[in-house]
Structure formats: structure tokens, C-alpha cells
Symmetry: C2
Subunit: 133 residues, 2 copies
């Protein structure tokens, strides 16, 4: 498929898709005319890339990581080098800390919300507060 369709189907801008190529994350074939031609499998990959970006990984680390992940089409996945594994463990720890921070901040926010909701509640207000789970 061409870049426009991939963008539509993943919700990622064409600008970003080209950037991913630049970073070596997703290198498509080219049509005779020079346009990008992505395989069906690119959709999943783009989504995975976005997830890893969301986790705070940088392009370079993602580029190293991707070949070590089993693709949906089951290509042979490379084995991470000890060097990469060490990096990933560092990242995992960072993510763990981040999750803890977020849970903590969420609690803080929620407390303010609950306080305000209690103190300003009007008859008919919905008093439900979503559970933390």
C-alpha cells in the first residue's frame, strides 16, 4: 500500500512515516516511479513503533529493538545482544519508575478532583469516581 493509506489506517502522519524510514525503523519498497510501497504487515509495525515511542524509547533504541521482536508473520527474530539487553533492562527500570510516578500523580489529581466534586456538588451531579484499576 502507499503512504497515504498506511497513514490513514494507523493514524500516524505521512510526515512521521517518512521520519521512521529515515531512522531505519520501517523501510518500504519503491514503485518504479519512486513512491513508497508498504507491505500489509507495516500497519502492525507502525503501531508497535508508536507504542515504543510512547514508552519513551528513542528512535535508535527502537531500531535496535525491532529486529528482536517476533513479527506477526513470524519471521525469524534476531537475538538481542548482551549490550542491547542491558540497555533494555535500563529502559524497563525507567518505565517501572515512570509507571510508579504516574500512579502517584494520578492519585494526587484524583484527590483534588474528588475534593472539588464533594465541595461543589449540586443536586443531580454524578458522584461516581472511576476506580484506580
Amino acid at each position: 500500500m502507499r503512504i497515504g493509506e498506511l497513514a490513514r489506517r494507523t493514524g500516524v502522519s505521512t510526515r512521521s512515516l517518512r521520519y521512521y524510514e529515515d531512522q531505519g525503523l520501517l523501510v518500504p519498497d519503491r514503485t518504479p516511479g519512486g513512491q513508497r510501497d508498504y507491505p500489509e504487515q507495516a500497519v502492525d509495525r507502525v503501531i508497535r513503533i508508536q507504542e515504543l515511542y510512547a514508552a519513551g524509547l528513542h528512535s535508535k533504541k527502537i531500531a535496535e529493538l525491532l529486529p528482536c521482536m517476533r513479527d506477526a508473520d513470524g519471521g525469524p527474530s534476531e537475538i538481542a545482544t548482551p549490550r542491547l539487553v542491558a540497555d533494555l533492562i535500563t529502559e524497563r527500570d525507567r518505565i517501572d519508575r515512570k509507571i510508579n510516578d504516574l500512579v502517584n500523580s494520578r492519585e494526587i489529581l484524583d484527590q483534588v478532583i474528588r475534593t472539588a466534586s464533594r465541595d461543589t456538588a449540586q443536586p443531580g451531579d454524578d458522584l461516581q469516581t472511576p476506580s484506580t484499576s
Copy 2:
């Protein structure tokens, strides 16, 4: 206390502390000579500010939020306006999504780590993988 001590005690750079003042997050008194003079309570506040930054809130939102939080010294906390509460609920939802994303990514990372550890394990390697909790 002066800015250097506050920086040392919170682990936040003096640059950032001045920036917080600029954003109206933490406005200290001044000594006759013009130097910043922070109350003891500033330590807690700086930490809280950092937590909120870590949660992805921007200065402006934090500035609105801070007066609504009960201080350690128990000053009277303002009640959040309905407008702010709506914003905070949006932020809380965003944080919830972010937490879910992170947990997901953590799992992905962990899988690669576990796979590599299994496939490259040497006699004597520590096979423990920290639990997700």
C-alpha cells in the same frame, strides 16, 4: 533558605527553580540584597511540582492546580473551579491511558529481555526476572 540549598535538597537545578518562579509555581521572598529566600515548605512543593511535570502536566495547569492542593502546613486550599476540574479529569484520563501504554510496552520489552536471556544464558547467569508488580 537560598536557592542553592533548595536545589541541593530537592535535586532540582537552580535554573529550574528560577523557571518555576517565572511560571508562578513557587515565588520566594527576597533578601534585602535581592536574593531569593525560600521557606522550608518549598522543598515539598518543588517535589510535588516535579511529580506533576513527570505526569505530563504543563506549567500553566500546575499553576492552577497547586492552590487547590492541601499544603503540608495545612494552609486553606482553594476549591477547584468547575473549569479546572474538567481539565483535571481530562488529564487524569490521559494519565490512565499513558499508564496502560506503559504497562503494555513494559511487557513487550520484558518479553524481548526474557527471550534473549533464555537464549544466551550461560552457566551461572542469574535467571531471575523482576516481577511486574
